[in-house]
């Protein structure tokens, strides 16, 4: 039995709590602390039931215990506004940060696209998970780009109203900028554009994502189809509900892929595939770094932040 790496979850909302369920199943990670800011939060209560230590004093309530409890990785599911401070404080203690907020201090990470590459650098202390739509669409853009250059990638994420929290609602521009930028930086498209639609239908709709790529020259249909199908299998390893509904469809130089993401229903209902793909990607990222730390290929350094 391999000893697991001890981790903390910062943020006891929907994302943090769903992540808790995923980390409890991990063969490499052991969640030992859950951090909130509301003593009455349901997430903290569930964490206590599962045997975690909890604090409702924010990240400052965790800092004194990092050394004694040997915390190596922290997952931040708070908000972009507080992430920078959380990251600074924990990095100073040599804790690696997986950032689920749109803060994007560290490199942008989509596991099947560039996690291996980021982990191989061995010196990062913070990685960012972009956005739910980014996690759901960038793998496809990258798969098309692996066959021929993508001049323009456009994605449409349809999200059920019940799965979208106040933070995202009040900051839709941030979602748009962050995801558009990542389509270029990680997906490899020359230009990227992200659109978000919040649909209130009842019963709630399962998360849908449409990915359009305009490629250079005539699309190589067979190669693109094969590359996309292979990529979908790679995402399905950690998000089983990641499913092709229609396509790849070819119209001129445009490739269209229509995806659906059903969640595992750990803490949130299955329609909230958008939250599930974030927490699953974050858990996978944590595991990859944990493996590196255990193998000695990743070194954690105490960051001296100005």
């Amino acid at each position: 039995m391999v000893e697991k790496l001890k981790v903390a979850i910062v943020g006891s909302g929907n994302i943090g709590t769903d992540l808790l369920y995923k980390l409890k199943r991990s063969a490499l990670l052991e969640p030992v602390w859950m951090v909130g800011i509301d003593a009455g939060s349901e997430g903290l209560a569930r964490a206590r039931e599962m045997g975690l230590k909890t604090t409702h004093d924010g990240v400052d309530g965790l800092l004194p215990h990092v050394g004694a409890d040997d915390i190596k990785i922290a997952f931040d599911a708070t908000s972009a506004y507080v992430h920078a401070e959380n990251s600074r404080k924990l990095n100073e203690l040599g804790v690696f940060m997986v950032d689920l907020t749109p803060a994007a201090i560290g490199p942008l990470c989509v596991p099947p696209v560039n996690l291996g590459q980021i982990a191989a650098q061995g010196s990062q202390m913070n990685v960012n998970m972009i956005s739910c739509a980014g996690q759901a669409t960038i793998p496809i853009v990258s798969a098309v780009g692996a066959v021929q250059p993508v001049d323009y990638a456009e994605i449409i994420a349809s999200l059920s109203s019940l799965s979208i929290g106040q933070g995202t609602r009040a900051n839709l521009d941030e979602f748009t900028y962050t995801t558009s930028n990542a389509l270029e930086k990680v997906g490899g498209a020359k230009r990227g554009k992200a659109l978000a639609i919040i649909n209130p239908a009842d019963p709630p709709l399962i998360m849908r994502n449409t990915i359009y790529c305009e490629v250079e020259g005539e699309p190589d249909r067979a190669a693109i189809t094969e590359s996309v199908l292979r990529m979908i299998e790679q995402v399905q390893v950690y998000v089983p509900g990641y499913r092709l509904v229609n396509g790849p469809d070819f119209d001129g130089n445009r490739v269209a892929v229509f995806m659906e993401v059903a969640g595992l229903g750990d803490y949130l209902p299955t329609y909230a595939g958008n939250l599930d793909i974030m927490t699953a990607a974050a858990a996978r990222t944590g595991e990859m770094f944990a493996q590196g730390i255990l193998d000695g290929t990743v070194t954690l350094t105490r960051m001296e932040n100005a």
Partner: protein, 346 residues
């Protein structure tokens, strides 16, 4: 001799949609010179507000919503240079358009904005409404697909938009589905709940032939701003036809300040000859109004029907059943492909 209307003396602000909603009916292909020609005519006819953007508003140029002949900045600045009195407005749907693009529109000459959300999602608009106010723009909260919320719910959403700073809140019948009694109920309830200085607007689509009747019902219930477009040029069976609305208002003694004959000429001599297909209540447009489907879906659905061999009406009914809303144009092809496969056509 007819009795005098109870609405005689009421003042209503007309807001032209020809150069924004009309973009949908023209597949986003209105040349800048035609925009300037129509805008100049509207300006000369004393129409106080003209909306000028891609049909889907700021950020609309995309595969999802079609690519226009020119950028929003190019359209807005060309029209701004041509008009003398009219204010230019834009559409901004958060999730598609951003505050950066609103700033750019303002810099190009826009001075009014419809900040649009689905009828239950007003809380995605606070930043954009606040930013528009900061720029000093005439700021409207625009509740799209209003038929998918009830009067109480819509009033709650309108109060939210008012609290963010919206000076006007619109009931937006994007599917042309609302019946006249629905309009009366919603707007009466909003009028009671909103501050007296907050204006109420109505944006109709003519899919059930109720564009004018619903606009008049809205005015009777307390609305003071109405969207309309020349010869109805707009998505689906179009908007309330502006020249018809102006004529009805004249007959009722509702004061709009516009030159009705000038609008009649502009509609007949410029806009109708420019239409690709005559905008009317045809079978598919009627289906939109009957099934409660976003009017803009009309033309992309026709294209998907042709490509995948599934009748447009069947696709529209299915989109309505699946409760697809504005902005989900990608689901038209997706739905058509799924239906074609089920029918052994794909």
């Amino acid at each position: 001799m007819m009795a005098k209307s109870k609405l005689a003396g009421r003042k209503v602000t007309l807001h032209d949609m020809t150069l924004r909603d009309g973009m949908h009916a023209k597949r986003e292909q209105i040349p800048v010179e035609m925009m300037v020609r129509i805008a100049s005519g509207l300006d000369a006819a004393s129409v106080p507000y003209l909306q000028v953007t891609h049909g889907a508003g700021l950020g609309g140029n995309s595969i999802q919503h079609g690519r226009a002949l020119a950028s929003n900045a190019e359209y807005i600045s060309a029209v701004a240079a041509a008009v003398k009195q009219a204010k230019i407005s834009v559409l901004l749907i958060p999730g598609l358009g951003t505050m950066q693009e609103l700033q750019e529109a303002y810099d190009s000459g826009a001075r009014s904005v419809h900040v649009a959300t689905h009828s239950t999602e007003a809380d995605t608009s606070p930043q954009h409404i606040a930013f528009a106010r900061k720029l000093g723009m005439d700021t409207t909260g625009f509740l799209m697909m209003s038929h998918l919320n009830d009067a109480k719910g819509l009033t709650g959403q309108a109060l939210l938009m008012e609290s963010y700073g919206a000076q006007t809140v619109y009931v937006t019948d994007s599917a042309g589905y609302m019946l006249t009694d629905d309009v009366t109920e919603v707007i009466s309830r909003m009028r009671d709940a909103l501050k007296p200085e907050t204006e109420i607007g109505f944006h109709g689509h003519h899919n059930l032939g109720l564009g004018i009747a619903n606009s008049i019902a809205a005015i009777a219930a307390g609305a003071s701003r109405i969207d309309a477009s020349l010869a109805g040029l707009g998505a689906g069976a179009g908007n309330a036809p502006l020249e018809v609305l102006a004529a009805v208002c004249d007959r009722m003694g509702i004061e709009t300040g516009v030159d009705t004959f000038a609008l009649m000429d502009l509609a007949e001599d410029v806009v109708v000859p420019f239409m690709d297909d005559i905008v009317r209540v045809d079978r598919e447009a009627l289906t939109l109004g009957f099934a409660g489907v976003y009017s803009t879906f009309l033309l992309p659905t026709r294209r998907a029907a042709e490509r995948f061999g599934v009748p447009a009406r069947d696709i529209l009914i299915e989109l309505g059943r699946k409760k697809m809303i504005g902005g989900q144009e990608d689901m038209i092809q997706d739905t058509a492909m799924t239906m074609a496969r089920e029918r052994g056509l794909l």
